[in-house]
Amino acid sequence: MVALDRIDKYGLLRPLLPAREWSRVEAYMLDDCGYGTDVFGTKAEGLGAAYVLAYWLHAHYFRVESAGHDYIPRRSAAVMVSNHSGVLPFDAVMLATDVFRHMDPPRLVRYMVDYFVYRVPFLGTFFRSLGQIPGTRRNFDGLVQEGHLVGIFPEGAAALGKLARQRYELLPFSHGHVELAARHGVPVVPVGIVGAEEQQTMLADLKPLARALRLPYLPVTTTFPWLGPFGLLPKPVRYFIAYGPPLSIDPEALHTMDVRVREVERVREAVREQIRVALLARKQQEYPK
């Protein structure tokens, strides 16, 4: 294990973060395979630079309020399951940043990312340098075996393209997270994210064109494509994140489809409950003490 002591070779990043946040970055331990990355490809300097940007988005742009961090395991593996929306996955960034900021020692949420990301030049390399890897079963196994927090959006990447009229409606959940959590005996932490649905107002999804371009969706929003790429930038809405009590998955879910469907529904219901908690907090502009 090596500390991230070389993330700021040129001294450019340190002034951009408060001292307390910088010490968190330095406290994060990376299991170095020899050339400054872990076996998943996470780069120390990539993480440091990304955290500088993510911190400012988290603290000042989206002004994230969150509650329930005690439900996140401090050291062991867990699956974090959340709703997904917002055209671009800023909700994933905010969730990971929130966990990193509020856990002691800081923990990195590793997402199971859609494959199309890794086909795109720079984007796939960037995601990997932040420790985010393609969503395959073996990748999940590896992350859990090494005790990581694994983030999964069971609605899939298509949920990013939810229309405005579908706000806070959950799409059907895939079953993979339940099966994998049961196989490894790790808890599922339900998370509700509120705010991402309003960062973009999605009017339509150009599905035929998206299929032709091998993308999960192609959005038409109130600002995109009218303002060009800038139209994809999110509005500065306030985020509310709520973590729920961890759910242990019935191991029978590995053998019986009925049990698996029931467990998936239980997780979905738990996520829906956390969305409700976060929506309530937004209404009151704070979480109940």
Binding site: C33, G34, Y35, G36, T37, V39, F40, G41, K43, Y115, F116, V117, Y118, R119, V120, P121, F122, L123, G124, T125, R128, I133, P134, G135, T136, R138, N139, G142
Partner: protein
């Protein structure tokens, strides 16, 4: 794959007695190194080195009682059979075959190379079984694995193979040769083993990564930086020695100690790469080869420069490297290490 099957006796335990080893492809850098390391071991009685060409100068000074070089066309059955009937082998029958005699140059690939690659494996394996060889080791390649954007962070031996009909025919030959070996893996008399090494860096080998490193300059696609864990010539030879001296059969990955992005390996070697958009990669590589600036063939395994391929060799670690003390002189940087 499964060591618990019929015919495997305690994988990882030393094979008793002295070794008499046939090494094919004797002019390859890895083979030369392996032969020399074999001759350093007192438990090796005889090494028969085979290649279609002339004897390499590096092998000339060795004890002729322990090293025999012979030229043979391995694509034909009779010459292969004759290898096991050489005079020194009559008194000391060969008990191990290390098959490195694969034609691995994608540039001059043709029907002859195809016949050589597939037939040589078939004839060697059949002859080895006929002549009571106890261990047959086929050195394959990590290029047999299918890679792409949905890749695993580490690829185990049961990873998906690249059976795409559009792959380079040489790659198809490698997979065919592996299948020939797999078909005989349950033979109770002979331990058939397939070793899939990751690319070898350094030492003048003709592995893809080494050829890439030796290009002037290496040309890489912009926006991609795959994870790799290449091995070294010394480590691969140590692994092959362990495979020779220890029991065990099946398919094994062997890889280097360090996993990291390709760019870091280039930096480490002091090599500066030229980045170009993906569609320009192959035309530029072709021009480079025409100008003699590169021997790397971008069309052989095109996705390799885009997507990660990190081999998981923990199985080989567990069965073989854990017993590295079986080798004489297995200390220092060449000793198989484990991270």
């Amino acid at each position: 794959m499964n060591d618990s099957r019929q015919g495997v006796r305690d994988p990882g335990t030393p094979r008793p007695g002295q070794r008499r080893v046939l090494v094919t492809g004797a002019r390859r850098v890895i083979a030369l190194e392996l032969i020399e390391r074999l001759l350093d071991q007192s438990r090796v009685d005889l090494v028969v080195a085979v290649d279609p060409g002339a004897c390499p100068a590096r092998l000339l000074g060795h004890d002729p009682e322990r090293l025999v070089f012979t030229s043979a066309d391995l694509s034909r059955r009779r010459p292969v059979d004759n290898l096991f009937l050489l005079e020194p082998c009559r008194q000391k029958p060969l008990d191990t075959v290390v098959h490195l005699g694969f034609q691995t140059n994608p540039v001059r690939y043709g029907a002859t190379a195809h016949e050589f690659n597939v037939n040589s494996t078939q004839h060697l394996l059949a002859a080895a079984l006929r002549h009571g060889v106890e261990k047959f080791i086929f050195v394959s390649s990590d290029a047999v694995y299918k890679i792409g954007p949905r890749g695993d962070y580490k690829i185990r031996e049961d990873g998906e193979l690249n059976l795409d009909p559009g792959t380079h025919p040489m790659l198809r030959d490698t997979i065919d040769a592996e299948f020939l070996c797999r078909a005989k893996m349950d033979d109770p008399r002979c331990e058939v083993m397939v070793v899939r090494p990751s690319g070898v860096i350094g030492g003048g080998t003709i592995s893809g990564f080494n050829l890439l490193l030796e290009s002037h300059p290496p040309v890489l696609p912009v926006g991609f930086d795959p994870m790799i864990n290449p091995t070294t010539k010394e480590r691969l030879v140590s692994d092959l020695l362990l495979a020779t001296f220890l029991r065990g059969k099946g398919i094994y990955n062997v890889a280097g100690v360090i996993a990291g992005p390709l760019s870091r390996f280039l930096e480490q070697q002091g090599v500066k790469a030229m980045r170009v958009p993906g569609p320009l990669l192959r035309p530029l590589n072709r021009i480079q080869r025409l100008l003699g600036q590169s021997h790397f063939h971008a069309g052989f395994h095109p996705k390799r420069l885009y997507y990660s391929l990190v081999l998981d060799d923990s199985r080989f670690d567990r069965v073989f490297r854990a017993h590295a003390d079986v080798l004489e002189g297995a200390v220092g940087p060449d000793a198989p290490e484990r991270r």
